[in-house]
């Protein structure tokens, strides 16, 4: 890399300024990402998390295949004509069937798909909202800050699952996307606090001062100068947010408030429980729970390793 640099520099000097600037920026980001990855790699737990996550991603991708092999593998509607009721693992059904003869393995794979969809959308939404609010509160300070943070305090104190329950009491059955939106509206508070404290300290840096002198307005300063520096924290909270969203959706489905047209791991547990197969169908009871627990574990491990990358104080502890 070192001997390439002079040639690269020669090249760059000949480019128009804006292009050169963008290239330098990209090179810097790439370097930062690489350093981050090297730090992340150091911790074996983080790698275990990534491996587990990869396994679940594979499951989600593979989930599209079974219905094409045979319509009886459809997670919601597939019925095996030869089987009545719940049976243990056989050659045709590797994990057995549920109480109306649907294949458990295809349900498990479909659940992985739902988990990723729900987790990632809710996390992205809540982190985007939280980062925005944190930036605004931290940058403007004063009464805007106070109002936003008091709201965040109130939202943080509410037990999320129960809030969704009471909303579903008032508004009727929730679809899966309604649930995702409500989860996002409850999770932003924690993120916004962290982003706010980061913004508060970054606000005092000299480059912000310089930008102000150059005439930059608040929007430009927030998004062009401060935001890129708080993004690592946003990503970190996204990993925690995914876990939390998956868990909330699973718990809701377990209690019977999930979307009846989606097959998720929580739904599978609800079916086992409510149809009385809890004690006699371990092949049905165990896989969804193991999946939820392992995906939680994988995100937790990834999140912890990322925390070490993002927050230098934590390195060398675990």
């Amino acid at each position: 890399m070192a001997d390439h640099k002079p040639i690269f520099d020669e090249h760059v000097k000949k480019l128009p300024t804006r292009k050169a600037f963008i290239l330098a920026h990209l090179a810097h980001s790439r370097r930062q990402l690489r350093e981050g990855w090297i730090l992340f790699r150091r911790n074996p737990l983080g790698l275990i998390g990534v491996v587990l996550l990869g396994m679940f991603a594979m499951m989600a991708l593979v989930s599209f295949i079974p219905p094409h092999i045979d319509p009886m593998y459809q997670p919601m509607t597939g019925v095996d004509p030869d089987i009545i009721g719940s049976h243990g693992p056989t050659l045709k059904h590797w994990l057995g069937t549920d109480f109306i003869g649907r294949d458990i393995l295809s349900q498990l794979l479909a659940g992985a798909r739902v988990a990723f969809a729900v987790g990632i959308s809710a996390a992205v939404m809540s982190v985007a909202l939280g980062t925005l609010i944190g930036l605004i509160a931290g940058y403007f300070g004063g009464s805007v800050d106070t109002i936003l943070m008091r709201t965040a305090d109130i939202v943080m104190v509410l037990p999320g699952l129960l809030v969704i329950l009471i909303i579903s009491a008032a508004l009727g059955q929730l679809t899966i996307w309604n649930t995702v939106i409500i989860i996002a509206c409850l999770r932003w508070a924690h993120v916004s606090r962290v982003i706010r404290s980061q913004t508060l300290s970054l606000r005092e840096r000299s480059y912000v001062e310089a930008a102000k002198v150059a005439g930059a307005g608040p929007m430009r300063i927030m998004f062009r100068h401060i935001a890129p520096n708080v993004l690592p924290f946003s990503f970190l909270y996204m990993t925690f947010g995914v876990t939390s969203a998956i868990l909330v959706e699973a718990a809701l489905a377990f209690l019977g408030f999930g979307d009846p047209s989606t097959v998720s791991w929580g739904m599978m547990l609800q079916w086992v429980w409510k149809t009385g197969h809890m004690f006699r169908a371990p092949y049905w009871l165990i896989p969804p729970g193991v999946c939820i627990s392992l995906i939680t574990l994988s995100f937790y491990l990834i999140g912890r390793s990322m925390e070490e990358v993002v927050n230098p104080r934590l390195r060398g502890d675990a």
Partner: protein, 325 residues
């Protein structure tokens, strides 16, 4: 002196927050689609009767008047009749509240204390087999899915091994027996309590363990620990009297934050174990569209969380004089 002022300002915050939650709930149920009296209107009723029904429920008054009536009713303890049970909501709530408090408080205290004390021990022994082992177990149980873990525990300990009851809080044979003594009754409740308590404890203590451990590791790098060692103090004394109290502060903060989550866990545990508490009542009320009961259950649970947060904040202010202002 400052502690009292801090207590007062925090108490004010709690009251305001509670009011805001009440107002939001009021708005939520007014925004809800559907007519609350739809289930009571008969085809036979005349327009006059329907109008009288509306008047009876105060639905013809302005929104502001309805809101003030709502507040007045709440503070007079007039919670209305439950649609499902047909009894006054107040009676149902008073019956369920102690059960939830018993389960929730005991579990919270146990897992907080266990997390703190084991966290400090294993941080001291960092890198040893105990450290790795306990951390691993803590991490494992922390990430287990609570409802699933609860089902597994029932399957294992109640069904297969028959050690604990399958569900509920009391055994009718003992409680309705006029000759049974207090000890038998209390023992019975405790016997029923063990499994749900264990489930909540196991799924939450891992978090505390890990936070206490990292907090302790950071505290151990401080200069005053070096001083204590230089003074020749015994290891145990340094750990318990110098390092642990300082390391425990972030853990207490996180206890406050985690209360909202553990109450979710409490509600799920109550439902799975059929423990007759507020959480389970809320889940049932929502399933049955029993609005009065659902609202009051939710508010009461919110009040419990707020009060618990207040207690934790006071505890933190007592332990860390720096934040009293």
């Amino acid at each position: 002196m400052e502690l009292r002022r801090y207590l007062f300002s925090r108490a004010q915050q709690v009251v305001i927050t509670f009011f805001i939650i009440m107002t939001l709930l009021f708005i939520l149920f007014r925004v809800a689609p559907g007519d609350p009296t739809a289930s009571m209107i008969d085809a036979e009723m005349t327009a006059e009767d329907v109008h009288r029904l509306y008047q009876q429920f105060g639905l013809d008054k302005s929104l502001l008047t309805q809101y003030l009536l709502y507040l007045k009713n709440f503070f007079m303890g007039n919670f209305g009749l439950s649609y499902h049970y047909g009894e006054p909501v107040l009676n149902i709530i008073l019956d369920r509240l102690p059960n939830t408090i018993l389960l929730f408080t005991t579990a919270s205290i146990l897992y907080a204390l266990a997390g703190i004390s084991w966290g400090k021990i294993i941080a001291w022994k960092k890198g040893s087999f105990t450290d790795v082992g306990v951390t691993f177990v803590g991490l494992l149980t922390y990430t287990l899915f609570l409802p699933w873990f609860a089902l597994l525990m029932i399957w294992l300990f109640s069904y297969k091994l028959g050690l604990f009851p399958l569900n509920g809080m009391i055994s009718p044979e003992i409680w309705y027996d006029p000759d049974a003594g207090v000890i038998a009754k209390v023992g019975d409740v405790i016997w029923h309590l063990i499994l749900p308590l264990f489930v909540i404890f196991a799924t939450h203590f891992g978090g505390f363990l890990l936070i206490m451990r990292s907090s302790m590791l950071e505290t151990l790098r401080e200069d005053y620990i070096l001083t204590a060692r230089a003074k020749g103090l015994v290891d145990k004394v340094i750990r318990n009297k110098h390092a642990a109290p300082n390391a425990a502060l972030p853990v207490v903060t996180s206890l406050g934050l985690s209360l909202a989550f553990s109450i979710n866990g409490g509600a799920i545990t109550e439902t799975v174990f059929s423990w007759p508490g507020l959480g389970r009542e809320l889940v049932f009320a929502v399933s049955n569209n029993d609005y009065p009961l659902a609202q009051i259950c939710f508010m009461l649970i919110a009040a419990i969380v707020l009060l618990a947060n207040l207690v934790v904040d006071i505890l933190y202010a007592y332990l860390d004089p720096r934040i009293r202002f």
